[in-house]
Symmetry: D3
Subunit: 131 residues, 6 copies
């Protein structure tokens, strides 16, 4: 089991990231993901920077839509932590039960058709490659 | 290579599905996926029914958002046909270059953090299980 | 691209495996998989030994059933070479179009329900753990 | 954790599916998978319909063979719930310890050769594409 | 749950493998993986033989490097048992916290770029195919 | 197919990354991966920064070892572009045929044992969790 590094025992380098997580998310809570990554500070910094830009930075995609995409990847990879934490984030951003149900229906259907496309070795339609 | 079954050579059962695809999508074009599935009519029917309900039926998620979720699954599975066809569908529903760039950024980041969460064997925060 | 090693240029060690493949399969044809693995003879030997025992050795599972299971893994992994070669092997052992259609239907459905089970984080029923 | 919806608290729509599961399987037991899917009734209906047709409908593949294929997908995806429930189903349909051992041997070998085929980037033999 | 077969109740065939594991690894401890595989002795023998040759046999790759490669596969597959056992093996062979941190950083980055390469459907540079 | 953005048509922002790639790698060649990512400059910058730090920055792991780990992830994901480009990079850093053969043997074996561990649902040995 990876040691979870608390704020009190963290180096200044790690504390700076924790402080930025708190300020960006407007909550004192630091979830286990970051406490585990703090075992390797460069990975903590780089990963937080990526998440901050991609999930909370400016862009055309709505914050809730970003979380739904994140969940789709996490379910397909069967990453339990990621499904749990991003489902919580999506709920905090407005996902209701009906939306979660629709999301799961799409993910399940996509995984079904993905295997059918691979198994039947279907050639890509010419027009789909022109986009 | 799977034989692609054209409308002219299809059975009535298969033609009925092709007709419904054309009516639902308001285009004469039947893409290779359905022509391949027509080799096993029950799979053609069931899969089209699922896609029609999940991707084009009523619901809280916007049609474009549904396509973005679909692409997220397909990229994670590395299903080339699925990435191609659903990227084309997403573009037809309004996805521009900036949105595709953001989508890929989220998918890439999610795959990165998924492996970090798994590799560090991070325990799920209690509060994420209460959602 | 990996060099494909032909019988004529192979070492005695590699030829011995090729000879055994020919004798076991009762055909002169050595497919590309073995010609590629011949670049690392210990892997060629070990892999052929495993395939021979598992796919052609004595056991309770019918040879055709074994191929269907192999295809299920290969489609789920999206290994194009493996889908191609084992679909050919399954056809040689009696798989007809209807069986291939049913096989794909099961694989697609299983991939769909796998993501639903993971996404909904469904707890295993107690009685399923007693088996 | 997803709420598991019991028969007593279910809507008529959900109860109809539960009743059909009970009648088809000739058991009163509704496993957690269906109780979780009941949170989104359209997904419950569509998924049960697919499973019923694919796993219990008429066809050339034996019911036990269908379960073995299902397990092969589930092990490759590492879906713990799916491995558990379909191993139980396979045992109920006649899978003994030797068969499970052979099944796992094939799945393990296929996952090994799948990575070898991908890693060596082996070109598909022309004759395998003619099937 | 798979029954774990202890030395005392094992057949001579299984005991011979357990004895070889103990001699090769210079420890009395037989880990659960082998005790589970002992339910199907041919799989136990073949798998141990492969692991012994590949992980402990002569070769150009350092034993610790082999473990790092093993962990990379296991994290990408999200195989919890495999991550746990091979992280322990890597630590026994000299992996320190910094090395594990770097390893995870590479695995995470590789999973990110893998999805970007697939999603953007990037054509392989000609010179990379000449290697 | 994604448009590949050449230096001549690139914005200053993209050119700065291309210049840094050239300086870091001491070659004029910009491979297709970066030319594709240039369609979304923030992803280009972030991904190059991560690759530069993780693959070329200071650390305890040898540059060649880092490439072997990268290949292990890419083979397991079946990312053809990634296998191709990182195999070329590994060869440039000293990987010979024997090492590639051993690498593939480990990756194949790990994928085999990963499925065996998942399929048999083997409980993690207590001592492996103390590491």
């Amino acid at each position: 089991m990876t040691k979870l590094i608390e704020y009190e025992e963290a180096t200044d380098e790690v504390r700076a990231v924790y402080d930025d997580i708190r300020a960006t998310r407007q909550t004192d809570y630091i979830n286990n993901f970051w406490k585990a990554l703090a075992n390797h500070p460069p990975t903590l910094q780089r990963t937080w920077q990526a998440i901050k830009e991609v999930m909370a930075g400016p862009g055309e995609l709505d914050p809730l839509v970003r979380e739904l995409i994140y969940i789709a990847v996490s379910v397909t990879n069967n990453c339990n932590y990621c499904i749990s934490s991003h489902s919580a984030a999506a709920r905090a951003k407005g996902m209701n039960d009906a939306m979660f149900g629709e999301l799961m229906a799409i993910i399940g259907t996509a995984n079904m058709t993905n295997s059918l496309a691979n198994g039947y070795k279907i050639p890509v339609d010419e027009q789909f490659n022109q986009v």
